[in-house]
Symmetry: C2
DNA sequence: TTGTTTGTACAGTAAAAACTGTACAAAGTT
DNA sequence: AACTTTGTACAGTTTTTACTGTACAAACAA
């Protein structure tokens, strides 16, 4: 087999594997293919480059590169003399993993915490209402327990993400040597 | 407002919030609603109970409870005298979080590691091929570096999940008091 | 055995998501 | 100013996913 062919096959395998697994980041296989392509492309790429490389519409390239950028998997680059928007992958994968939590999980936890706290307040008040039956009160108390558990859990998740963001996680799970942490 | 009504609204808010956020576990909103319903339902539920409660087909309940069980968010329960399959939520949410990584992430990491190692082997061999041009060799060496980085990253992720599974993570990010760890 | 209950495979349908092409606004160029 | 280039909003289409209903196999009951 020709050398360049071997190289391309080796790359293609990685790109396709990324495409098949990036759903863990809530992204589509196409976005994954785009990411993988940029990963091996050593210069920053324009939307037209991606259209060319992936054979998809420029509109698609625009929307999915946006999704990648929102998760900070790629970033814009500036090269003098180039007017088109340029994108390149952010090459710190550890940070990208952390960003998934900082961005997607943090938002989700916040929404869920708000809901839990609101329901908790309502149920605490209901519990103290003297008009409710003993039977209902017992159910309310059980639900309060469940929601307190949920509140603690989301608080823990928040602290976990703090530990990611502060890089304390690397004390517990160290990088290999020579990884520059 | 009637007491029972307050309770139901408080529950409904939580169930809907779970439904809107369970995509982080790769599950559909319907599966989230099913999970939330079971969370507040103190007895284990049958597929027919769920059909009743959620107004969806039994087939749907069957497939989505399967997805929930695969992620170990719910488990089967046995109650003497009941012939139907019974399901209940697993009430350790910390463990459920860990299970997400043990199950979904671990599988994904394994697939990606295999691909990376395979491509790495091919490129190492290509690099040592004396017939390739100097130009190509340089590209190959850069790709090898990238794949070594990827290999190290997946190795780190694997060790991170080990730390989750071994509960070492709770040394770094402790539970609140009274959470039974 | 025959009859009943229960879960799910499978085919078909409905709904949602991904993708494309056109059209246009914003910014740059001459 | 007029013209060009670039990114994206939006409408329409294609593809995928979620969901339903039927049919049936497995397990149990009589």
């Amino acid at each position: 087999m020709e050398g360049r062919e071997t190289l391309d096959k080796a790359r293609e395998r990685i790109i396709e594997t990324i495409a098949q697994n990036i759903h863990l980041y809530g992204l589509t296989a196409s976005a994954g293919r785009q990411y993988g392509t940029m990963f091996f492309h050593d210069e920053p790429m324009t939307l037209d480059d991606m259209t060319e490389e992936l054979g998809m519409s420029k509109t698609s390239m625009s929307t999915s590169v946006r999704a990648l950028a929102e998760l900070k998997l790629v970033e814009r680059a500036w090269v003098r003399g180039v007017r088109k928007d340029l994108y390149q992958v952010k090459d710190d994968w550890y940070q990208s993993f952390i960003n998934l939590f900082s961005i997607k999980w943090r938002r989700s936890i916040s929404l869920q915490s708000v809901a839990v706290k609101k329901s908790l307040r309502e149920l605490e008040q209901l519990k103290n209402n003297p008009d409710i039956s003993e039977e209902l009160k017992e159910i309310v108390e059980m639900d309060i327990n469940k929601l307190q558990y949920a509140r603690d859990y989301f608080d823990w998740l928040d602290r976990l993400i703090d530990a990611f963001e502060d890089h304390d996680i690397f004390d517990l799970v160290p990088l290999k040597e020579g990884n520059g942490e």
